[in-house]
């Protein structure tokens, strides 16, 4: 399975800190290995994602990048596939098989998630503009559903090597064990 990275566009600290944090944590929990954040540099955000990785394990990185077009150019140069999530795109059930096949046969996948205003170029730079339903809702939900369908749900039962904490699932109550 090839690498998956998520590119978050247009981050603004005061407006987006929680939403972008959710995007980063969803990227990690749904099987991406990196989130690249374009917009205002936000060290607190990177720090909070790094603390989650340190405690809960797995291989995941978060970083800033001022020049998002460079990220896209380099991704394309390396033969990767670029998917932009937008409510105006082709609906997920109509395109997921094609995308999954390309990804499984070795194309690293860059998933672009916009903020308030997405530059029109993004629609053209993307190989696929994909909608998670053509209804207005949430970039956090869109990212989760896209990655969940791509992995056919298998990301929900992954192991996280190097974790210090692990939840022992309970029908009622909370149980967390410290692994070392």
């Amino acid at each position: 399975m090839s690498k998956i990275a998520v590119l978050r566009l247009g981050h603004r600290i005061t407006r987006d800190q929680r939403i972008t944090t959710h995007i980063a944590l969803v990227a990690r929990a749904y099987g991406a290995s990196e989130v690249i954040i374009a917009g205002e540099r936000d060290r607190r955000l990177i720090g909070s994602v790094e603390r989650v990785v340190e405690r809960w394990g797995g291989d995941f990185a978060a970083r800033f990048e001022d020049d998002w077009k460079k990220v896209i150019r380099e991704w394309r140069k390396s033969g990767g596939l670029i998917v932009h999530l937008t409510m105006y795109g082709v609906n997920l059930p109509d395109i997921i098989h094609e995308l999954r096949e390309k990804w499984r046969s070795g194309a690293p996948l860059l998933v672009i998630v916009g903020g308030e205003k997405v530059p029109g170029e993004v629609f053209r730079f993307a190989d696929y503009n994909v909608a998670i339903s053509n209804q207005p809702h949430s970039e956090v939900a869109a990212l989760a559903t896209f990655l969940d369908w791509l992995h056919e749900g298998k990301e929900l039962t992954r192991e996280y090597p190097g974790a210090k904490l692990k939840v022992i699932p309970q029908l009622r109550g909370k149980k967390v064990v410290y692994l070392k």
Copy 2:
């Protein structure tokens, strides 16, 4: 198919406005018919959800409720099923078949989504505490994935009666038609 409502706990206006808006829009786009918000009364939030319903159609309501325990009590009295989404619960793949069967055989479903701090009672009031992976991520993503699995993805291609706007899906670009 029985009714689905989403109960959002602990809403605070300054902290949660965007996250709770995402929760409400995800509830609508992923097949619930109501979101009930407990916490600070936030008319702007209700108004923005109502404007989405007015333009994009479908049958969906958003309302506030000061007494969230009353919502739970009444739901239980009416024979409904109560599911609380939490990273400490039973992982979705291990419980979805049982839940889907109960819901399909007629139990209205209340899905509880917490805020920062969830009172311990919620874990006991729920019939099921369900995790979407046992990793920390996002209540928005958790709600989306839960409803998506419940509907087996069919919610993404629903029609929205009464819509004034409709997206015509495009591989590139945006196309929206005005229906009346």
